[in-house]
Symmetry: D2
Subunit: 392 residues, 4 copies
């Protein structure tokens, strides 16, 4: 049976995962790490800026996140049949009508060996007019098609009297655990992720597009974090959500400590070095030029978790501001916008770097051990060991 559900009904999946975990004697050894936590709750504090109330991208008002997690089958890979360890994640930049109230946006491609469709349009127009979807590499087409369905359903004149639409879909490769050839994300899954998207706490780890991802040799996936600036610097909120599939064990660095070299647990060695998609949201009134500069800082936060930025890792960053929305069909040729001085950017740079770094660590600290196709296992980052190493 295919277990396709939004995160609101994620309990079944969690149960399923735990079943896998504990039914495997090897995994039983990892029990002490089964209790997952956010990295900050372990006393590991990244940077100096305070997080928002949820320490999540949803701290930026109006930003919504929805996951559909697909876990099905076990054992030997039968291409097209499973096992399935994948999903789709939707990020909506605000709670209104995105097509008619576009948001300023930009991107930075740190390493292009991956895909984030629709980026050329974002760069040229300086705005984002669709939700951002994340999934596995071979499902990009299907998920993009699902976004077109979603947009066509929302806007009946799209492609008739109105413009056409270009989806924004990012991907990482989950083929170590997942039957990626099976392309198990359907239009219905995309619609479910979009419709279930909400504010509030964001499920992290092996959920949504993160279900089958591996990060620094351990189970990775979705992580999020946020930072709020002091009131005298505008009090702006900046949030990051990352789909983490990058790095090798030996690189993993936490708070500057090369933890990965000291961890003794079993880790996954992949030929491919994975990828990361980073989404940064802010309510600071940034222009596309400024958002590109913001996006360009995210790799510094990424780099502090240890990766060298591998040749085959598709590392894409997309950033948007929820302020200064752009009308789809402006009534007048000109409008008035609020511009932030570049001299105020430094603390926003710091915010995005800290939130990026923490989002990656959250993906690791929240993800549960996952057994995938052919018995491939991505173990949860052993948090006890991490704490021991850091407090040594």
């Amino acid at each position: 049976m295919t277990r396709c559900h939004s995160w609101a009904t994620g309990i079944t999946a969690a149960v399923l995962i735990l079943y896998f975990a504990f039914s495997d004697p090897q995994l039983a050894m990892e029990r002490s790490d089964m209790k997952r936590a956010r990295i900050r709750d372990l006393g590991i504090v990244v940077g100096t800026l305070p997080p928002g109330p949820l320490n999540a991208i949803t701290d930026v008002e109006g930003v919504r996140v929805g996951h559909v997690t697909k876990i099905e089958g076990k054992g030997k890979l039968v291409p097209g049949r499973g096992p399935v360890r994948t999903g789709v994640t939707a990020i909506l930049p605000h709670s209104g009508d995105i097509w008619h109230e576009k948001v300023p946006a930009a991107s930075f491609v740190f390493n292009g060996c991956g895909e984030l469709t629709g980026l050329w349009w974002v760069r040229e127009s300086g705005f984002l007019e669709v939700p951002i979807l994340l999934t596995n590499t071979h499902c990009v087409g299907r998920v993009g098609d699902g976004v077109v369905s979603y947009m066509q359903q929302q806007y009946s004149q799209l492609g008739i009297g109105d413009d056409v639409v270009t989806p924004v879909v990012g991907e990482c490769d989950d083929s170590t655990l997942n039957d990626i050839r099976g392309r198990h994300i359907s239009e219905a899954d995309v619609l479910a992720a979009l419709r279930s998207a909400g504010g509030g706490p964001v499920p992290e780890g092996a959920v949504g597009a993160g279900t089958g991802m591996i990060c620094y040799g351990f189970k990775g996936g979705i992580g999020t974090s946020s930072r709020v600036l002091p009131a005298d610097q505008g009090g702006y909120m900046t949030g990051v959500l990352s789909l983490c599939n990058q790095g090798i064990k030996e690189e993993l660095t936490i708070l500057g400590v090369p933890v990965g070299r000291q961890l003794t647990g079993r880790s996954v060695t992949r030929k491919s070095m994975g990828s990361i998609i980073i989404i940064a949201a802010t309510d600071a009134p940034l222009s596309p030029r400024q958002l590109e500069r913001l996006a360009k800082r995210a790799p510094l936060g990424l780099g502090r978790t240890g990766t060298v930025g591998h040749n085959g890792s598709g590392d894409f960053i997309i950033a948007f501001s929820t302020t200064n929305r752009i009308p789809h069909r402006p009534e007048k040729n000109t409008r008035t916008v609020t511009a932030l001085s570049d001299r105020s950017l430094d603390s926003l740079f710091q915010a995005v770097e800290e939130a990026t770094e923490e989002s990656i660590l959250n993906a690791l600290s929240q993800a549960q051990t996952m057994e995938g196709r052919d018995g491939n296992i991505a173990e949860a980052l052993p948090l006890d060991q991490v704490k021991t190493i850091l407090h040594h």
Copy 2:
């Protein structure tokens, strides 16, 4: 009945088009223009370099092109049902195993308000490892998914023991004539376009992805052209294939003459200003850096056909060389490649500009009048008038 067929069986479609054309009294007036021709056959010679034997992208040895043209229904638009005026075009960079013998490639995005997926990977890696597909905007996802199917069929270890794949799919908006919301390109159409792809003459005009396109207010679509350098400059062959959907009537310029302003025929006015996708192939041993420079010259050829390069026009160029192929899994860390001196680039720049300009004119001079959804008609460029204006 859906008429889905490769260009090898294009006669039915042509009959159908002619039926539409002549059954409409207004169109009957255009009879004298019904006989289409390549622009050069009208005595209109672009530039000074000689074309290759076919004056087509297939003059570059090994390059193959396949079209699937989909024409179905007539009259009022019923979204999802038709009328269908669309298609898909496949370009394969050589006749061998593209995945294992990648070709050096690069791109230039003259205006990003459109989509050509997979371009970040091409830019970062410097190679193309998949066929290039062209289609309509809302079918990009389905066509990309079809490319994944094609690649998975070809390579059984893709996504298992081998890497994952990112499709390269470009688009233009054919919604003035076509039921674009219906997304009428299926996986089977993509596979048919890829499998029917061959060398030899390339059908032009309202075929493949060009079926529903409009160019400078007239019926546009697919055009192609080539140039060969003198033997003392290496004798290299450079070919261009364009999917032409750009511009407004008043801009149309042929051999420097502002023909569009003088043409009296009925032309289409669109809100959106269309787009163009340009594919340049060469057997000159160019590096990705040099190919990017080559791609950057194509807009000069485009500009000479009159467009200002509209805000909403997604103008993408991708260029590849068939020489210096890159192994998928190299046996050694280093290999030997042939490098062309930058001092030899000027005539290649000229070649790509001339072939781009001529390919656009060929799309116009070859395309037949097409009636699409809601009785929208894109008339064929009236060649008699053009000749009269030019020879005045």
Copy 3:
């Protein structure tokens, strides 16, 4: 005697040039072309938009231009001594305090084989805070140093309590006519160009930085043009000033006619293919992102004059808007700016393309024949022949 003078006292130089011209029997044949004109005054009308009152970049309110032309000596080159055929041109974006009221700016590098210093800062900051200077290739350092002198004189705290400054200096290679090794532009010349800069008609042809430049094999140099939009499209003024040193005779195209191939006059053949620097100014309230898009269209206008965009040609475009000025030390973190909808850009694109094309033709039609070092002669474009060819 060194003849260093601002254009306000340009008569001496003109006399000197005429002396050269008529003392040479070969040149006397060109007498009929000695009377120079702006291209539009010859009945050659580029495009469809109307020019501003002066048909010059100075039609954009506040923009000022100053030239210093240096002509000295004759005959055999003695490196370091002469003959001197060079100069410097200054463009100030407005008539106020540029450092404290910066203007939004951007650039596009069509071909990077040249130099326009300070461009990275312009791109990153999105503004221009210094005048733009143009000169010959080997004088870029000295001219940049002169700009630092100018700025230090204007702002006594620069480099002490205030920021440091990065000059914006563009160049072309005038070594066919000029003793470029002599680097004959001094700090005093730079200051004179800046201080003599004014509004009003802009001297064109062999003046300022254009003194020794060659364009399409004929005498080139400085050209300018402007376009004004209809009132219902905002009535914005866009002006272009070009330093024209690009192309070979066979390429020269005027109004789409390949004039160069038919001209019988003597033209200069150079190993190097020259370069062009294009400066676009507008009072439309464009953001840096939009100005970059504007700059990206200038090559279409350039391409319509015939060049293929040679390998060795450094083709740089810088664009700025005089609206929405940016304070040096903002009092508040945010300010309000006017934003133009991207949907209004098309006519600005057209304006910049037409003004670019016409500015290049003006440089050619205004430049007088110039004899330079070693008796190298760049003849004036034979306007009678051009008219005959065009009206044929």
Copy 4:
């Protein structure tokens, strides 16, 4: 008396600095830190790859470095007179004829608020054909002019029968310590730096262009480091030289430890956030595309020293390979080059990141306390404190 000397005669300058240092009672307190060291000699080991024999950019065979350090006067700033705390540094990519044997090169601009002239040419051509010079911001013009002098002296046909030259000059702002308005670098200084350039150990800290620089609130300047790959990965040597003027004290991070927050010494607070220029050299046979990818990794090493990448920091990276040299006037149109597989890049990425990080720490650990204009003092990084903090 102006003390202008190459590093070969650096002893006078060192004596002078010590004189300043110890004649100031405040500075005497810092005595224990006066003994400078390379960071590795303090037991602080960055990364896991081994350095080359010199742990310097000169480990890449043929790379030469020359410094001219200018220290003059003391006390109150008299603009134009001093005090002088500046210099110039030259890096030559190989020991042969750079103009006729150009090296493949590329760049990455992490933050463009600074200057590295000539970069557009490097990017377009894919090669470096001149030495790289580093200096202070206001001397860029004079140093560029000095490079033209140097090239003209070397190549008598430059600008006559041969091409013209575009200098590559990078800068940082040393105005906190130096009379930057005085522009105290002369043509003679540039020539001296170039002519004194050699292989062997590279003086670090407050030498050459680094003389007046400040880094993380402490005395910064020049630092260098190198890494060698294992033989089975090609055994390639990669070296980095950085001109370090970036960051604020609170950011300084060493081996992941936020040392800056804990250091109690007096540090400099600047309005401007400085800049960094990073030069990476390798003997791996990289193409310009690959070198750009290498350059793009340097910010990860930079980021690990703590900076957020400030708005006003001009952070430029230029990378070159000493292999596959490009002839100035090729005899044939094509030549054969060695290409490294992208799959071999990861360890080179690691090398450049580690060498960048260590080069910055070396600049800090080697620089002596410097008193500059108006009694402004940049203290040496207190190494004893650093060690205590790290070993705590």
